[in-house]
């Protein structure tokens, strides 16, 4: 084991004493410096924590506000869409409610709570809140009307397919099909199916081309359509006047 000699120990003690004596007056300075540093450190940390707490509070209040606005947004979304559609297209829309459905499953009729009292007429088109075609009015009474849905077998309307095609849209309970299409080479799967009449300055969305069928001995081709308004529930319907 290594042990220092007595002289070496003495020198070491003297050396330590000198250092101690030399640095003693600076003790306060060092302490002050340390305190200052620690103070600064605590100040900054407390500032950060305060800021953090403030942000947390803000975050919570914002979250509450978001939840509130989500609820309001959901509530207003339905009418907002209809309003936007109405304003953007500048059309006269009338909102009507559904009274009842047709009891038969082979027919797609609706009884709506608007008739002559709302100036509804036979042949007027009905759309949903997104502006997609739902059907047309077939009979108008004083306070109610009959609405034939787009997928009813008796529903017929001339439609446009893609950019150049046109044909007669007919409902078939599970969807719809377009008959008497001539320019089938210009039509492809996924093409837009739309309606446009003289009274309307804009097209109404009907659906998309699902499949194209043509037999060798047929003059025209048949197109299966995937309807965009295949919602099973109807809350509110809008009639284009």
């Amino acid at each position: 084991m290594y042990l220092p000699s007595k002289t070496k120990l003495k020198i070491l003690v003297i050396y330590l004493l000198v250092i101690f004596l030399l640095f003693l007056p600076f003790k306060n300075v060092i302490r002050n410096l340390f305190s200052l540093f620690s103070h600064q450190l605590t100040i900054s940390s407390s500032k950060i924590s305060q800021k953090n707490e403030k942000l947390k509070k803000e975050n919570i209040s914002l979250k509450i506000k978001i939840n509130e606005s989500k609820h309001l947004k959901k509530e207003n979304e339905y009418l907002q869409k209809a309003l936007n559609f109405k304003e953007s297209k500048k059309i006269d829309l009338v909102g009507v409610g559904v009274l009842s459905f047709s009891p038969s499953n082979w027919q797609r009729y609706l009884l709506i709570n608007g008739g002559e009292d709302m100036n509804l007429k036979k042949g007027l088109l009905a759309i949903n809140e997104e502006g997609q075609l739902l059907g047309k009015i077939t009979e108008v009474k004083k306070t109610f009307s009959h609405l034939l849905l787009i997928n009813d077998p008796d529903f017929k309307i001339s439609v446009f397919v893609g950019k150049f095609g046109s044909g007669l849209l007919k409902g078939n309970l599970t969807g719809a099909e377009i008959l008497y299409v001539e320019k089938e080479e210009t039509i492809k799967k996924g093409d837009r199916v739309w309606v446009k009449s003289d009274s309307l300055s804009f097209p109404i969305e009907v659906g998309k081309v699902k499949s194209i069928k043509k037999r060798t001995n047929q003059l025209f081709c048949n197109i299966a359509v995937e309807l965009t308004s295949e919602s099973i529930f109807f809350n509110k319907i809008f009639i284009i006047k």
């Binding site: 009842s100 459905f101 047709s102």
Partner: protein, 160 residues
């Protein structure tokens, strides 16, 4: 002529209301009124069943504007056919076979309904037919299970 009891009258009325409001929209391919007609034709005497089916047919037709009175003709005819076939098979069959015969008649009535409506609308929709058959049979079994228990027994003559 036996009177249709209030329980059955309430059932038929609620089935008609269900058809009008369609709580599940068009996702459920079931005609509740038609199931009610089948139920009445198999569990009631001929005259009251005919009366009930004619009234239900008239109600259905009144909610389908511009259409020929198909339901008014179809419902009593199916009721008549079901009642005749059921009474005929009941005499020649054993009691154990009655359940099968009764359900076969339900199936037959549903198939006739599909054929009539498909011809009328000139549509060939096999997927829709299968959906209609399965869902209608399931709902019919539910109706008979919850309401028609005692009626079935009475019709079979087991309770006597």
């Amino acid at each position: 002529m036996k009177k249709i009891n209030t329980k059955l009258l309430a059932l038929l009325t609620s089935l008609f209301v269900l058809d009008l409001i369609k709580p599940l929209g068009y996702s459920l391919a079931v005609e509740f009124v038609f199931l009610g007609v089948i139920f009445v034709s198999l569990n009631e005497d001929l005259l009251s069943a005919l009366g009930a089916s004619a009234i239900l047919g008239l109600l259905c037709d009144s909610f389908n504007p511009g259409m020929r009175p198909i339901c008014l003709i179809e419902f009593p005819l199916i009721c008549l056919l079901n009642n005749y076939l059921f009474s005929h098979f009941r005499f020649v069959s054993k009691q154990t076979r009655v359940f099968i015969i009764k359900n076969s008649l339900v199936l037959l009535a549903l198939i006739i309904h599909i054929i009539i409506n498909s011809i009328r609308s000139s549509l060939f929709l096999p997927f829709f037919w299968i959906k209609f058959l399965i869902q209608s049979l399931l709902i019919y079994f539910l109706i008979t299970y919850f309401i028609g228990k005692d009626k079935c027994i009475h019709s079979f003559g087991i309770s006597q």
